[in-house]
Every structure is written in C-alpha cells, then in structure tokens.
Point group: D2
Chain length 163, copies 4
C-alpha cells in the first residue's frame, strides 16, 4: 500500500445526518480510487467515512485518542491506540498526504491548522473559513461535493508525488 | 507555584517588531501579576514573551518541538524537550489554564483550536477570527491591548478556579 | 479486524541473520493464525517480521518514529508517521494485546518495560532478562522457538479476551 | 537556567521509606549543586526527590502523564501536563542530560532503556540490572550512596558538555 495515497478525512465526532452521508460518500469514493483512508477512529464523520470506505473494499486506519483500540469504530482495517488525547490529531495529519475536512468542530479546525503548518494540502467541504485580522486566508481548497473533494484531494496528492 | 495561574502565550516563531513588542509586554505583565508563562520555547513571539516575563522576575517554561533543550530561547526558567514536533502544541495548551494568542500563523491557529476543544479560554490580540460556513464563531475573547489581554486572561483563570 | 488479536513484534533495527530469520518466521506464523502484526515500521527485525506476515497474506501496521511514512519498510498494510521519535514505542505497545520480543537492544527493552507497566503480557525469544537488585524478575514468558512464541502470545491474547 | 545541568530522578510512584529518603537526599544534593531536577511529577520517589530539591531552594519540573497539572506533587517549580500516559517517560528522559534511577519498577526500567537508547548516561542506585541472553550489560553507572550518585551524574553531565 506504500504507493497508495493516504487521505485523512476529518470531521465532527457527532455529525448531522447530512454530514454523515457526505462523510460516507467521501470514504466510498476514496476506496474506489484506491486511497488509504486515515481518520481519528471514533464516531460521527470518522465512522461514516471509514464505513463508506470499508464497505467499498478499502483500507482504513483509525488513530485513536484513547488507550484502548476497542474504543474504535467498527470500520477500521487497523486501529492504533495512542493514549495521547487530542495530541493524536498531529499524528492523523502527519500520516496523511492530504486532508479532507467535512464540516467539523474545534478538533477539525486544529487538524486543518496542523496540516497547513506541515505544508499539507487541505480540501474543505463546508468547513471552517480562515480569517486573520479581517483578511480571508485562502488556504483551504474548496470543494462543492464529495466527488469534487475526492478528485481534488487525489489530484493534489498526485502532484505532490510527481514533484 | 501550584496556585499561580499558568498562561500560555502563543504566536508566530517570526514576528513583526510590533508583534514582538506586544508579546514582550504581555510577558512582563503576566510576570508582574504572578502568573507562570507557558510557551513553545522557540523564537519570535515565544521568545519576546518569555524575555518580558523573565526580565520582570517571572517564571517561564518552554515546551519545545525539538529533541534538544539547547534549541530553546534563552529566557526560560525551564525548557522541556519533547522531540514531538507540532504534536507538542497540545502539551503547551494542556499545561495552561488560559491561552493568549498574539497574532500568529497556522501553528497559533492549531493552539487556539486545541484550547477551545479542551474547554480552555482563549484571549486574542489581533489574531485569527473563527468563521464556519459563513457564520462568525465568537469563541475568542477579544482584547484591545496587552494590558487588556492579561487582565482578561487572569480574570478567566480566576473564575475557572473559583468554580 | 477488530476481533483479531494484535501482536507487537519488537526487536533490533539491525539484526543478525538468525534474528531476522526468527522475526520472519514469527511474522509468518502470526499471519497464518489471523493476528494483526504491529511493529515500529523500520528495518531489521521489524522489517523481517512484517515481511513474513505480509508474504503470508497478513495485515501489518508500522508505527514510525519519523515524520514521513515513506521511511517505512515495504511490508506494511498501513504505515503511521508519528514524528515522535522513541516516544512512539509507547504507542506500539499500547496498540497491541501482547508483545513478542525477538532479541533486541535498548529500544526493545523500553518496549518490554512499557508493556509490563501497562499490564500487557510479553513473550521473549532470547531477549533481555529482568534482574532487580540481585533478584531475577520472572515477568517475561519465555519461548524456545518462533512456533512456541506465537502459540504462547496468541494463548495469552485469548485468555485476556476471555476474562 | 540554560547552563545548569538537568538531571532526571526516576523511581517508583510508591516507594519504601528508605527509597523515599534516598530520593529526597538525591534531590537536595542536586539543588545544592545547582542542577535542575526533572521528574515524572507524581508521588513516591518523584515527590520525595522534588521535595528535597525544592526545600533546598532548587528548581524542579514534573512532566505528568495526566491531563491536569493539578495532579502534580506539591514540590514543583513547573508542572507540565502531557495527557500522554506512559509515553511521557520519553519526554522526561529527553529533557534531561543524565538520569539517576533510584530503585524503581517497570516504568523506571523503561526510562533507563529510553535514556540508553538516546545515548544519555544513567546512574543507578540499587535499581535494575541489565542482562541480555545470559550476559550482564554494564551500561548503568553504579552508585553506592546519594552523594556518589549526584557526584557521578554531575560529572557525566559536565563531561558531555565539555565534549
């Protein structure tokens, strides 16, 4: 799997039905395109995306904040128990080539910021907007649908690889 | 020092002269008020704030991303070498009772988000604004000066303690 | 894979030919028995064990100390980039139900000690012996062959699960 | 304090009265010699050593496994809350120039092993002995008293610095 792109899907641990449906479609499309799905391993959008990917035959990894892999959602090829709490967000991002943010709360915002700090591309589906001192910072690649998000994320991963 | 409030000052590792001056004043005022200053231990606003605090007789701790405490700025009572890169941002925030963000880049944004995720108050001086899906999220307590930021941060720390 | 046992195989990043052969056999047997192999993701015994498992159709995860998953050995279903250096040893152990130590150096000793601290069983193949203040501490389950090590590790994992 | 040596004192979170007395003397002597004491921040030998150092006017830092600095023992100049569990042992060791092990359990053994892996000297007071495959590994500098341990640790720190 070393050559497959790794795409982190980040979003709320509780999500609205439409957010969960969006996460599931993103996961399915990533699996169909041969990507490895990386997530935080818990519920909500993480679980929806992992479920979408696994049901499509994909490979999924969850990097958990808790100290037991039994806390993981059931749709993971591999569950990693870090026991590090929110500090694991940095590992989710570091493991991925590119990040897709599906809506999301403060944890998602921290993953967006860590990815940008590490120089990794972030694709956003209705998620946070970055504004600093009155100026919009145009660092998140905006997508209009799950299909668009996956196409953009895999395009960015491929261009990183080619460089 | 267990009873002293711990205040994290986060900001860019490179900063403009006015940002550095602001960080230094924040550090000095925190020291004069008896707070422990927590920072990421490197240069820029972290160094300016630590210098302001140490020159006023305060106690400062830097939590470094690198694996050598010799990489620290020279104004730290204690330098902690985590060797964890950006994952150390979670430790900076976790160690503090309240966070003051002085302008800042993506690393600072990750610390703001992690603090809010952990339920810790954030005071902002000209820093990021939080906007999600077109709606401003009013989670950062805005300050208009170093004096105002320190007063608000210590007030928030005291009210947490009283609760 | 949630029900499969997770077994960490720990050992030297450089190993003698006989240590590598032993690691490879341990990996192969674990895969044949349906276990997920967890390792540190780098070379030596980690690579030999992962190779043995993957060539037998098993699932393998490497938890890397570096900040790039491209540093991983080529026999991993999933590579996780922690960027945390030796602190990742705790994650290797925490993710596993049981640890098999194949000879090994100081890093391996740290993983044995962390596992015992966390209450996880450790099976040893010619590895460290624990002696404290003149008294042998009989905490490592000794195995005499790769077959014996895998049988004991999976037996311990099953008994933990049954409890 | 950048030039002061940093010495980690590691030992059991519960200790016998004689172990606690030994830890306290080690802490006091380190403070009298101007060293910064690093420890895991909790009870037992960590608390005894920190108390000995603080009562002698020294500077102490505790690097806690929990996510609240209020869990710390009361003898710390600075308490750092990592929220990382046993993974924090790597940070304790990484922050120090040299480690003194006072007896100790499995957590202490993990710190000894991590220090040796990182190339940092370890001084032992009645602690673990390292034996691998029937051969004693003479990597811990043995001390016969608190005075001897502190003298050896500071000598090793000075020679590292001179190199």
């Amino acid at each position: 799997m070393k050559r497959a792109p790794y795409v982190a899907v980040v979003g709320a641990s509780a999500g609205t039905p439409s957010e969960l449906a969006l996460g599931e479609t993103v996961g399915r499309l990533l699996a169909e395109r041969g990507a490895v799905l990386v997530c935080g391993g818990m519920g909500g959008v993480m679980e929806a995306a992992a479920g979408g990917a696994m049901n499509a035959g994909g490979t999924t990894v969850g990097i958990l904040p808790t100290d037991s892999r039994l806390d993981a959602n059931p749709y993971l090829t591999i569950a990693v128990a870090t026991g590090m709490g929110e500090a694991r967000n940095a590992i989710v991002v570091r493991t991925a080539d590119v990040v897709i943010a599906v809506h999301g709360e403060y944890g998602t915002l921290s993953e967006i910021a860590l990815a940008l700090k590490m120089g990794k591309p972030v694709v956003g589906l209705g998620t946070w907007e970055l504004v600093r001192e009155g100026t919009a910072i145009d660092a998140i690649v905006r997508a209009t649908s799950a299909e668009d998000a996956v196409a953009k994320a895999l395009g960015l991963a491929a261009s990183l690889r080619g460089s």
